[in-house]
Symmetry: C2
Subunit: 377 residues, 2 copies
Amino acid sequence: MWPTLQNDTFLRACLRQPTDYTPLWLMRQAGRYLPEYKATRMKAGNSFMGLATNVQYATEVTLQPLDRFPLDAAILFSDILTVPDAMGLGLSFGAGEGPRFAHPVRDEAAVAALAVPDLDKLRYVFDAVTSIRRALETTDTQGRRVGRVPLIGFSGSPWTLACYMVEGAGSDDYRLVKTLLYSRPDLMHRILEVNAAAVTAYLNAQIDAGAQAVMVFDSWGGVLADGAFQRFSLDYTRRVVAGLKRTVNGEKDGQRIPCIVFTKGGGPWLDEIASCGADVVGLDWTVNLGRARQLVGDRVALQGNLDPNVLFAPDAAVAREAVAVLDSFGRPQRPDGTWDGHIFNLGHGISQHTDPERVTTLVEAVHRHSRAMRSAA
Amino acid sequence: MWPTLQNDTFLRACLRQPTDYTPLWLMRQAGRYLPEYKATRMKAGNSFMGLATNVQYATEVTLQPLDRFPLDAAILFSDILTVPDAMGLGLSFGAGEGPRFAHPVRDEAAVAALAVPDLDKLRYVFDAVTSIRRALETTDTQGRRVGRVPLIGFSGSPWTLACYMVEGAGSDDYRLVKTLLYSRPDLMHRILEVNAAAVTAYLNAQIDAGAQAVMVFDSWGGVLADGAFQRFSLDYTRRVVAGLKRTVNGEKDGQRIPCIVFTKGGGPWLDEIASCGADVVGLDWTVNLGRARQLVGDRVALQGNLDPNVLFAPDAAVAREAVAVLDSFGRPQRPDGTWDGHIFNLGHGISQHTDPERVTTLVEAVHRHSRAMRSAA
């Protein structure tokens, strides 16, 4: 039985309920721009997967940004590629390199061998979720046990996982995965079916373990052509969303567990993404928030969308650009008294080169200006 | 005095005039996927700039794809970065690397020192334009001197040049150029003013030398945030377009010289780009051509937008995807008898790994199906 949340602003905004201010969290908020993150990582042998697979370390780094900044949500420290790793593809992170799979999926035999992995192989993730959720507990001023902020679980989207599974690593041009897509769409659909089933089970297990919201990172959806995006990415994300548990016994007031879908470069397909069943759509910085809000109407809340590079500018510019994002969305209250939801975030993960002081400025500016917007006549 | 064009389908489509079929050319059509290109490049010491600065070699490689495929336009063989090179920034291409500048522009002094370069330093480009135009001349069946297809000149956009000038090379995250943009917008605007004046003069000199259309490659416009794109990219592209010579004495019937603007990742801003004064807007493969056509109305013709990765699939898939692009645009004739313009192209440069046989299939499919669309009831 989990305790009530002290700060449920994030969940309320996801569900388009009234909030006192615009909640804020940052993609990759637990990461290399924080010296304390680097220190924990050294304890784990300077290995990313060493961190992610150790429940204690994963818990520690997840909470680090919350101890520095008054962020409105925590996000599980993990990688989007844990699922294909559990499928037996052999994930590794070379020094200074991106992820790499020892056994990429490139032919009919490799596709035929794919299956939804035994979730026991991902036990370390679910254990981390529960551990983080416990670590987020605190005592309020009246001595009651409360949760500080909600915990977000996540996975890569079926298409994004497939990109890495076929390419075997990151790619400039996605030549191998697109060659497969255009040459053997039957094999690509088979990979995506397996991935969709695996991601659904994976996210549901995170929800069972204590995740209070889940996010699907369709990091590479934006590299697809119009038409191909709908058939090879969005259709499978939709399957995942449809298969999610949306309430959990004992959850606060049986509140719905929101699902966020974020397609980097997905601006051209916002209208279709907004109808995929998610509660929230994440936007990168190329999208005009005000126009996006008009387009999605009451279908979803929106999350985003500051260019992370703004955080390399001086404090005054950081505050100015943060205000511009809030103003672009506008007051979340509609004239008819209902509310639209906005969760402030970056349009992509925070850069490792960011000075944490800029994040302090950002969080302060977002909270202050969004409170002021609500009280303005 | 240049001769009449044998095939002006490309120019007609740019100007939204009736055509018998949809004209086709490919970004980077003279390039490493052609064995004959590699052979010429070896003659030039396997150096990209060795090719681009030698009028004879530049002419040779420009014509190579036209001798293989019945393409409807030629494009000058050159690089988008010739202008900052002429500004004294020291362009080089390392083996297997992208472009690099020896003297990047990163501080106030470097910005103050920037100036529109002496166009004489770019004489090799204008000489190549004239040489290619001459080489495109042939004799028709009645023994008359004619031009085979139009020649397109080009430049990088002011913003795209600025990216390379500040970063000093390609970049994953555009951290340096965006830091300057957000920290010192005054310096960024100064760079862009110089670039806009330089690009305008450069394109006009190409037009004087014989270019029959010009294209502005805003290759990195899509990395900007909404708002920043308009102020730091599109506003300066608009200046360039406004400053172009649009007719040249002796040009066929005084026909307007079309200008194409291509912003990779520019889908979210299509409506604004379509009003920048260009005749044609280039689209990458994320954009739905049919919806784009509706949006731009009679403002511009559209160019694009096949995913270049389609060319890694078998012939049947190449033909099918080409037909899908044509069908997405639809019949260019409107019900009221006027015409919209579509120029078939890839949504990005052709990959060096492409089999030229797939290009044969593509060109044939585009020409055949687009003729059939016009004659259909």
